[in-house]
């Protein structure tokens, strides 16, 4: 364990594991705060009137035991992949989530790709053209990007592009009546590409475009602002001035001396941005009827479906944790200073 990199990795992984336990505890405690009675929600009025049926139901679901014991039972179930049964769909939460996770990953993945390309590009342009018109325009646009209510923008985009202009297809992942491609990854665009179903691919890309762009707008604004300040900071360094002074062409200075160090911290921000994308999916999926985790989360929260809410919190929390762990590790590998800090 002498290597700082190994020590850094172990520290990060242990922290992530502890946080995972914390996440299970938080979701468990929160769902036990719910004022609504799950017995009433599940059994219906007539059965609730019969104490024997209620007692039997509570015993079957472990609700008659002390909370710490219920938590341990919950943890044991989690280790066996048991997230409970949804009270609405009457199916295992894990199965429900397994169906909706690929849709959300496809949407969030497309949005982060768009955000990285446009956000970093705009940020670099704004920094290089500091205090000129394009910098001011990009600054205002990025501020608008982080200020727009995502749910409202989703509605406006749906109305303008689908309802009025009829440029984009409607809700869902592919056109109604079209059979999905054979499942390999669960991402329709990738699966359609792998199976050579070009009609499905074009339909999937068409359906993906509007929600992904709406979702990406916030992260584009975020990344533009961060990249701009990161590039500006590097541009002021002595070694950049020295590179210019010795007559290197602007392109070489930009790509070799400025962008390499400036874009390393962008990895961290991209990880954090992924969190806001996961948040945004709840609002965007509800409008575009995108059958992902966001829509599932919304439905389960509003119907007080305890195991489903717990499952969504857990899965999204853990996914976000893993993404941040990967980002941290990547950052530590690329930038040795991080390991010792």
């Amino acid at each position: 364990m002498r290597s700082p990199l190994a020590r850094f990795l172990v520290r990060r992984i242990v922290t992530a594991l502890l946080l995972t336990v914390g996440i299970t505890l938080i979701t468990f405690v929160l769902t036990n705060l719910v004022p609504g009675d799950p017995v009433a929600a599940n059994l219906g009025q007539r059965a609730v009137g019969d104490p024997a049926i209620v007692a039997q139901w509570r015993a079957d679901h472990g609700l008659d035991r002390p909370l710490p014991q219920q938590y341990l039972m919950h943890l044991e179930g989690l280790l066996h992949g048991d997230l409970g049964t949804s009270q609405q769909s009457h199916r295992p939460v894990l199965d429900d989530l397994a169906e909706s996770v690929p849709a959300t990953l496809e949407l969030a993945g497309a949005a982060i790709l768009v955000s990285l390309v446009l956000g970093v590009g705009f940020g670099v342009v704004a920094a290089l053209r500091r205090d000129r018109l394009s910098d001011h325009v990009l600054r205002v646009l990025s501020l608008v990007g982080i200020s727009v209510p995502t749910f409202w923008l989703a509605l406006v985009a749906f109305y303008v592009f689908f309802f009025r202009l009829q440029i984009t297809p409607g809700s869902g992942r592919i056109d109604p009546g079209m059979t999905p491609p054979p499942q390999v990854t669960g991402l329709y665009t990738v699966d359609a590409l792998l199976s050579g179903r070009w009609d499905v691919l074009s339909s999937a890309v068409g359906h993906l475009a509007a929600p992904a762009l709406v979702l990406a707008l916030y992260t584009i604004g975020l990344l533009t602002r961060f990249t701009r300040s990161a590039v500006l900071e590097v541009l002021g360094q002595d070694y950049v001035r020295a590179a210019r002074a010795k007559g290197l062409p602007g392109r070489v200075v930009l790509f070799r001396y400025v962008l390499r160090p400036a874009l390393v911290p962008v990895i961290t921000v991209a990880g954090l941005a992924f969190g806001s994308l996961l948040s945004g999916t709840v609002l965007v999926e509800a409008v575009f009827a995108w059958p992902g985790v966001g829509q599932y989360a919304y439905k389960s929260a509003t119907t007080l479906d305890l195991p489903a809410v717990m499952g969504v919190g857990l899965v999204v929390g853990v996914v976000y944790l893993v993404i941040n762990l990967v980002v941290d590790v990547l950052y530590g590998v690329i930038d040795p200073r991080v390991r010792v800090s």
Binding site: G22, L33, S147, F226, Y298, A301, T302, L304, V309, V316
Partner: protein, 291 residues
């Protein structure tokens, strides 16, 4: 140079220049305009926001400049009264986050050891969740109401302040004037209150200003999802949600959304200006936290 002499050294000198920039002027004017609308809504609004007295789903026109909703209520009046719901609640929410997060962060930074560790690990736990997901789970757990939505956003908002305050307090704690106060026999509480807190308020103020927009977005987002304001409250997020059912009547959702956008944008302009006006080094630290 004249200005430098007029306003003395350091921050005070830079502040007026930053405030003369177009973004600052626009931000100030729009924010003030909304505050006036919120205060004077009963005088300004042409109709009762709850009265169902106009034709249903009438497009914008004379008598109802921003149209009417599916119950025949005037949207302009509802937006004006909505400012009395959304803006004060958002400001209260940010103030609560500053107090709760700031106090916990100051304790974590000043006392360190297990107090600091416990508080910061709790903060880490909140950061481990994407904000809307956690706020939604908390709001669903507490029950759908505007008060519970505020509590839910508070749960996800305080850690940012705790982290920033802790970092700033850690920096100030070892400075000579704090140490000499302690050597003179001041209590920990007095030293924290008199010596430490006044030195960390500037950056926290910037963060709070930048956070007003985020808090409003979260709060209206929860209402949009049905986890905040309940009908017939003219809350902006809930008003946008009402527009989902009547898609072809575009005005029902568009104008309340524009109201949210303009308020958030105004406070983000103000936050940006404040950040530029303060020390650039602390501004960098805040930017990272704010993300």
């Amino acid at each position: 140079m004249k200005r430098a002499r007029l306003f003395g050294r350091g921050r005070v000198r830079r502040l007026p220049q930053a405030w003369r920039r177009p973004l600052a002027v626009v931000g100030t004017v729009v924010a003030l305009a909304w505050i006036v609308v919120a205060l004077a809504a009963p005088l300004l609004a042409p109709h009762d926001p709850l009265a169902q007295e106009l034709p249903r789903l009438a497009p914008p026109g004379p008598g109802h400049w921003l149209g009417t909703d599916q119950l025949g209520r005037d949207i302009l009046s509802r937006i004006m009264y909505g400012a009395r719901v959304s803006i004060p609640l958002t400001l209260l929410l940010v103030a609560l986050s500053v107090v709760v997060g700031g106090l916990l962060g100051a304790c974590a930074g000043y006392f360190g050891r297990w107090v600091g560790e416990t508080i910061m690990r709790l903060a880490d736990l909140v950061f481990a969740f994407p904000t809307v997901i956690l706020a939604m789970v908390v709001a669903a757990a507490l029950g759908a109401s505007l008060g519970n939505a505020v509590l839910a956003v508070l749960v996800v908002a305080w850690p940012a302040y705790a982290r920033v305050t802790r970092g700033l307090v850690l920096g100030v704690r070892e400075r000579e004037f704090v140490l000499s106060g302690r050597l003179l026999g001041f209590s920990a509480w007095r030293s924290l209150r008199v010596d430490v807190l006044p030195n960390v308020t500037g950056p926290i103020l910037v963060l709070a200003t930048l956070d007003i927009g985020t808090a409003l977005l979260l709060l209206s987002g929860l209402s949009f999802l049905g986890l905040g304001a309940k009908p017939p409250s003219p809350e902006w997020g809930a008003m946008v949600a009402a527009g989902v059912d009547v898609f072809d009547s575009w005005w029902v959702a568009t104008f309340p959304g524009l109201a949210i956008l303009t308020v958030v944008l105004a406070f983000n302009f103000l936050g940006d200006t404040l950040r530029d006006a303060l020390d650039p080094r602390t501004a960098g630290a805040i930017k990272e936290r704010a993300l």
